[in-house]
Assembly symmetry: C2
Homo-oligomer: 304 residues x 2
């Protein structure tokens, strides 16, 4: 392997061959249609044992409860602090997530971003033992770099919080804020005592969680361009991957299969996705998507 | 004036001096904060005697009525076809606009964009007599080019329909779809008879019209970066311009004053803006914004 080999962390094989064939075919696509969107959790970085955003929320919750122990009695917070996923599951992840987002009501956008970055600067992955920022997948970083060499526009389309991901997307992936679409918390427009405008995070969501069909509709309304490459790892990505490949032009759907208990985790998709009608790996097989086996296709998983 | 003079269509004077001073100061701002947003109608291109998007709607309405004369009896459509602004005003522009948008219910995004481009390919400005695409302001194109030379991210934040502007923004301004924020029509996610996903324009708006405080909130939720330059021409741009200049860093608010009846039009702001509490030119004066006098500051108005 020489230094000019593209995608060095991708092992030779069918998946890498299809990726290279797609990249070659994309040269025939007008530049303005060279658009690639990646899911985030489990596609660009590790989502186990818990979502990084959940760790961020948990950290904020612990600080809140240290200040005001009675806050921990709220059922959603008690469930989170119990450390028992079943208790969270019983209340519903959506309800718990909204309660946790409520910890940041009133924050200006810059304040929220600063808190995310402060968390990321010190947080380490519980099992891997290294910084959260190094739980990104090295092969995906190489793919993004290769796409950019071909003048692709690269975005992140996540079920996670838009503003959380925006606070890290430039550093981790070189993706600017406007190319991140996720689950949105509303902002209220207010004025400070001197009359200057300010934005404050509200306690309500805008629209629904950015999962399933919502990912497709939100890509159109917020980004306005249909991808020719979409990558995901769960049922929440199904429609986005179908949509990327349903037009009559070169396209690729990539599904990351977490099958490497030794170097990462072994699991299939997310159980909580409402649209789970067929296991996502079966959809991939039926529609001839490219399934990325972490165990077999990736020579290197993490950048360290 | 040599070919290396920046902003050649801007006449020497206070406005041009402030622009150049801002561009110079912006070099000290981190690249990721070099963000400029422009209103569209009346700021980047001519909005008189009617909005270009209104002409597009009118053209579609005429074709609809030619097919089905009874369609013209709907009050909103009868008001539009009467050619009498007072009749439209009586029903309310928002109601009429939504009725007109309804002419495109069921269209896929690509179909709608193709219709806009087909219209733009042949439409001419009623008074100027040249193509609509040449009713953009040459000095603003030069400013955008200068901003890009300084690695600015340039977006369009419009009260007009997001998808209408996206269909022309790359050609007119080099602004990609994801950097256009406007008034949004919802899309429904559906499947075609073969089961493939499709998006269809719905008959309902997402959120409110993108005017006033909504411009600020929508910039944050859809773009995620605060501008250091904002340009507008009406009360609907007030909060965006205030917000751009309220942070503690180099910034500029540009207000286009339409004061040139000879080469363009002479009018002040839009009467229909709900947030009109103070004439926008008085806000500009109170907050020391840069007011662009078309008559005095622009050597050339249009690119032809």
């Amino acid at each position: 392997m020489t230094s000019t080999t593209p995608l060095p962390s991708w092992r030779p094989g069918v998946t890498r061959d299809r990726l290279l064939a797609f990249l070659d075919a994309a040269r025939s696509v007008p530049t303005s249609d060279r658009v690639a969107y990646f899911d985030n959790d489990g596609t660009l970085w590790c989502e186990r044992p818990t979502y990084v955003q959940f760790e961020f929320f948990l950290d904020a919750l612990r600080r809140r409860v240290a200040d005001d122990p009675s806050a921990g009695e709220r059922p959603e917070f008690a469930a989170v602090l119990s450390g028992d996923p079943a208790q969270v599951g019983e209340l519903g992840l959506a309800r718990v997530a909204l309660a946790l987002a409520g910890l940041f009501v009133g924050r200006a956008p810059e304040e929220f971003a600063a808190e995310v970055r402060a968390f990321m600067a010190t947080a380490t992955h519980a099992a891997l033992g290294w910084p959260m920022s190094a739980t990104v997948y090295q092969p995906m970083l190489e793919l993004i770099a290769e796409l950019r060499r071909l003048d692709f526009t690269v975005g992140v389309v996540t079920g996670g919080g838009t503003e959380f991901v925006r606070a890290v997307s430039e550093d981790l992936y070189g993706v600017p804020a406007e190319l991140v679409v996720g689950t949105l918390i509303a902002y209220d427009f207010e004025r400070d005592p001197s009359g200057r405008p300010v934005l404050r995070r509200a306690g309500r969501m805008l629209g629904t969680a950015n999962e399933g069909p919502a990912k497709v509709a939100n890509i159109q309304t917020q980004l306005g361009r249909r991808p020719i490459l979409a990558a995901g790892n769960s049922g929440g990505d199904r429609e986005m991957l179908e949509w990327a490949t349903a037009a009559d032009r070169p396209s690729l759907a990539l599904l990351v299969d977490h099958d490497d208990a030794e170097r990462e985790y072994a699991y299939t998709g997310r159980a909580e996705t409402l649209t789970e009608t067929e296991p996502i790996t079966e959809t991939a097989s039926r529609l001839s998507w490219s399934v990325v086996s972490i165990a077999n296709d990736w020579e290197t998983v993490f950048p360290r």
